[in-house]
Subunit: 162 residues, 2 copies
Amino acid sequence: MNHFDPKFDLTFERIVEVPKELIWKAWTTPEHLMPWFCPLPWKTIRCEIDLCPGGRFRTVMQSPEGKEFPGDGCYLEVIQNEKLTWTNALLPGFRPAPPQAGGSVDFHFTATIQLATHGTGTHYTATVIHGNEADRDTHDRMGFQEGWGKALDQLVEYAKKM
Amino acid sequence: MNHFDPKFDLTFERIVEVPKELIWKAWTTPEHLMPWFCPLPWKTIRCEIDLCPGGRFRTVMQSPEGKEFPGDGCYLEVIQNEKLTWTNALLPGFRPAPPQAGGSVDFHFTATIQLATHGTGTHYTATVIHGNEADRDTHDRMGFQEGWGKALDQLVEYAKKM
């Protein structure tokens, strides 16, 4: 159901040497998400996950200066070990979110992580779709590629020790 | 996953003498939705349904003066004959919608129709949730109770002839 449009959307993909079941676990369990979720020296200090469509996905990131950036939203698609979609345009229970998202970003997006077995590892694809070009460009300038790349590096390092 | 809050939300329920399978069909098939969907003398002149999470639910209503009011959004939950949830906060493919919904309403909402067998008929519940009190109050003043009541009357009359 995802209609990728390069003017509005961003995508990131990579082959990693970790089985998809571990990546799934790292994305869907608070204790296994917090260690890698945002690029150091930022930290993820809280995480709440209710893993079902309409269920809450909430994180709080902390800057090196100690400022907190909450992000709240809900899951839309939960297909174990394969596909995870969530948005900050809807709050838990599918309630419409305020127009300004607040927290770590001030725009709405819907993100999808797709996982496919590739040899002994995983073909990992992250896609983030937006409502307009301006939001896409803002997200791009915030360092989408570098940020999601660093987070994935951290995920892989963490998963190898899981 | 619906957390009803009377300050933010509106609900409407009624027992009707039509089996839930017919009500489901009337809500999920364009040809069977258009005849009853908006209270006469308004008309529903177009309808597009892709019945799956992320799939489009689009209608165009026409006022008695001939003005057109499009409404676009996507489904979130599709549980046959039981529960149908959609929102105008996300467009097809779960893409975030513009902050001003445009079309027939200028706010975001998520709506759920729930159907349960009641004797030979159906216990019908419609719930519409909003992001804030102002949107709920606007929707209420637009005549939510009366509008959804009239539409349900029209649905029941139509379904009896299906």
